[in-house]
């Protein structure tokens, strides 16, 4: 399944079991994923790699309960999500998953602190507890002095740090990051990935990336490679560079 797999005896967090996803475009059907299986264990720093259009984001969306597979099943801590209703999935995401997006996706009308506070609002935390946890998360990502700034007043790197703090604040089971460095320059990409690595190593946060950035591939403890929606062995390093 992966060349760079680290033996992990820790508990299973997410498990994709022979997952397929087909989209209908007019009369034509496009198979974005074909019989993909994947296991994410607690403490993994896993990357789904592959060229553009290979189905990385589709798999990430399915594992993040944002989309449903056409075939197969996704099990979260051993529980099938097949029969979850839309609201049950929303509740599950709010309690267990953190998201980091390529375009940061911060709410522009809220300050950095309020953006980080938002996921806690969905968990009905008290105002004081929300504030304390959000400030702590911003401190971890090194933005305690920018808490009053709105996204428009922050640089790209700072915005992604706020997004990391937002994903981190509720101490989720798993953080899903969809091409988190795609909109950042090299210096900021390294800083962001260093921060994530530190969170992984020091706090044991489980990360699942969808990225073909060599900087991510270098840090990943587990890689799943996709091509045309199918799982394939990870190509040689030279070929990986070409793909990236």
């Amino acid at each position: 399944m992966s060349l760079k797999s680290v033996p992990n005896t820790l508990s299973l967090v997410v498990e994709a079991h022979r997952v397929s996803r087909t989209y209908s475009i007019g009369s034509h059907c496009h198979q974005a994923l074909n019989q993909v299986s994947l296991e994410i264990r607690k403490g993994d720093f896993c990357d789904i790699a592959g060229p553009s259009g290979s189905g990385k984001t589709t798999l990430l969306n399915i594992l993040g309960c944002l989309d449903r597979p056409t075939e197969g099943d996704v099990l979260i801590e051993g529980v099938s999500t097949k029969k979850f209703s839309v609201n049950e999935l929303a509740k599950f995401r709010s309690e267990n998953l953190g998201f980091i997006f390529q375009t940061f996706n911060l709410i522009p009308t809220l300050s950095a602190l309020e953006n980080v506070e938002y996921p806690l609002l969905l968990l009905s935390r008290t105002y004081r507890s929300r504030r304390e946890l959000a400030e702590e998360a911003l401190k971890i990502v090194g933005l305690e002095n920018f808490k009053r700034n709105r996204p428009g007043q922050l640089s790209g790197g700072q915005r992604q740090r706020v997004a990391i703090a937002r994903a981190l604040v509720k101490k989720p089971l798993l953080i899903l990051a969809d091409e988190p460095t795609a909109n950042l320059d090299r210096k900021n990409s390294i800083e962001i990935l260093d921060l994530m690595s530190r969170l992984h190593e020091e706090n044991g946060v489980t990360f699942l990336f969808s990225s073909h950035d060599p900087l991510v591939l270098k840090r990943a403890t587990k890689i799943s490679y996709l091509s045309d929606g199918r799982q394939e062995p990870i190509p040689s390093e030279e070929r990986m560079k070409d793909v990236a």
Binding site: L66, P108, E114, L121
Partner: protein, 407 residues
């Protein structure tokens, strides 16, 4: 909850120009409703007061045959026991006055000129308050000690060239069909603002009219109340009194009799409703467009909050709150605007002549609490309603599709 409200508030004013335009639109609609209602209320209540005080009283009592207009012989419509009825009625503390009334037609002559006129009686001794409500442009009101004086409507006086103290004679038929005539002095020229009334009516003391018509009875008994609010309750009491004296006498409220008032007030009600409907339809379309645009622009944001775990209902709530904030802003501004417009118009004293009015009246706008409440509820209700459909659409968005749009 507070953060949700804060988010909704900030989003509502994210595009300031568009939001201000919407608030201004809602405010204009609210102000228009309040001002229009205040204006028509003032006009209608003026007409009601004039009708009640100078013509109908609050209640009118007459024999069934009079109301049904079946009898060809007017004498059969006369209430002979009217003195007893009046005495009994006056025992009710809510009644200000009760007096007999006769209404008939005659020929009013001044020198060689004559005109057919409507003659209405007034008892200057009992109907003091009714007597006071006739505004006299010239001369004085009827007086209990001057039985051979008449008061003439402004339009009628103009047609015959009458002035206060002019001498006139009235020729009419008695109830037995005998021609009778009397000479009078004009006590004064009155104006009620109802052209139809002022152009053809003459007031005469009841006792003199009874002499002229050779009767001691009356056609009707006019009852004036201390408070108009008691009309329906007193009507029931009067009915009970009449049952013990003459069950054939029936009582009607001023509203049942005042045809002109009913027509004018119905016309205004229909007109107001149409105007309100059009205004609210415009507000509805405008807010729907704004919220729809806002949702389109914030597709990525909706996808993000849904991905974070926000439920569909919470997305609907957020957009409804945004609509509510726009509505609240518009309503408050509209009420303020209406108060300013009302004060401005009231201070300017702009004269206006209504159809059927004998004299101009000044535009007066009364800012009514009921109109404020109605306009506010309509304004808020419409803005929330306008947000419901787009908000529901937003909540149904496919998360993955929505996330493709950048924030």
């Amino acid at each position: 909850m507070w953060l949700r409200i804060k988010i909704a508030f900030r989003n509502a004013f994210r595009n300031r120009r568009r939001s201000l335009l919407n608030i201004f639109m809602i405010a204009s609609a609210v102000a228009a409703i309040v001002v229009f209602e205040g204006f028509t209320h003032n006009m209608i209540s003026g007409l009601r007061e004039t009708t009640v005080q100078t013509q109908t009283g609050h209640l009118q009592l007459a024999l069934r045959s009079f109301w049904e207009k079946k009898s060809n012989k007017p004498k059969q419509n006369l209430i002979k026991s009217y003195q007893r009825v009046v005495t009994e009625l006056l025992k009710d503390k809510r009644i200000q006055y009760a007096a007999g009334k006769l209404e008939f037609f005659g020929l009013l002559s001044k020198g060689d000129e004559s005109m057919s006129v409507r003659i209405i009686t007034l008892d200057p001794q009992k109907e003091v308050s009714r007597n006071k409500h006739f505004r006299f442009r010239e001369g004085k009101a009827l007086h209990k000690n001057r039985p051979f004086q008449v008061a003439v409507g402004n339009g009628l006086a103009r047609k015959l060239g009458l002035k206060a103290n002019s001498n006139v004679s009235i020729l009419t038929h008695t109830y037995d069909g005998v021609v009778n005539a009397m000479d009078f002095e004009v006590s004064g020229i009155f104006q009620t603002d109802i052209a139809e009334f002022d152009d053809s009516t003459l007031l005469i003391p009841l006792k003199t009219a009874q002499e002229l018509l050779d009767t001691t009875a009356v056609e009707q008994i006019v009852v004036g109340l201390k408070s108009s609010w008691d009309t329906t309750m007193v009507k029931d009491s009067v009915r009970a009194v009449l049952a013990g004296i003459d069950p054939d006498i029936q009582v009607k409220t001023w509203y049942q009799i005042a045809t002109l008032y009913k027509q004018v007030s119905m016309f205004n009600r229909v007109q107001n409703t149409m105007v309100q409907f059009i205004l609210m339809a415009l507000v509805l379309l405008s807010i729907m467009n704004t919220v729809g645009m806002s949702i389109l622009e914030r597709t990525g944001e909706i996808g993000t909050i849904r991905a974070l775990g926000e439920k569909r209902a919470a997305v609907v709530f957020q957009f409804l709150m945004e609509g509510l904030f726009l509505g609240l802003g518009g309503v408050l501004l509209g009420i303020l605007g209406a108060i300013c417009i009302a004060k401005g118009f009231n201070a300017m004293n702009i004269p206006i002549i209504f159809p059927g009015a004998s004299a101009p009246i000044f535009i007066k706008i009364e800012v009514l609490y009921s109109a404020i409440l109605k306009a506010s509820l309509l304004g808020l209700g419409i803005t929330i309603l306008a947000a419901v459909i787009p908000a529901h659409r937003a909540s149904k968005m496919n998360i993955v599709e929505a996330l493709r749009y950048n924030i």
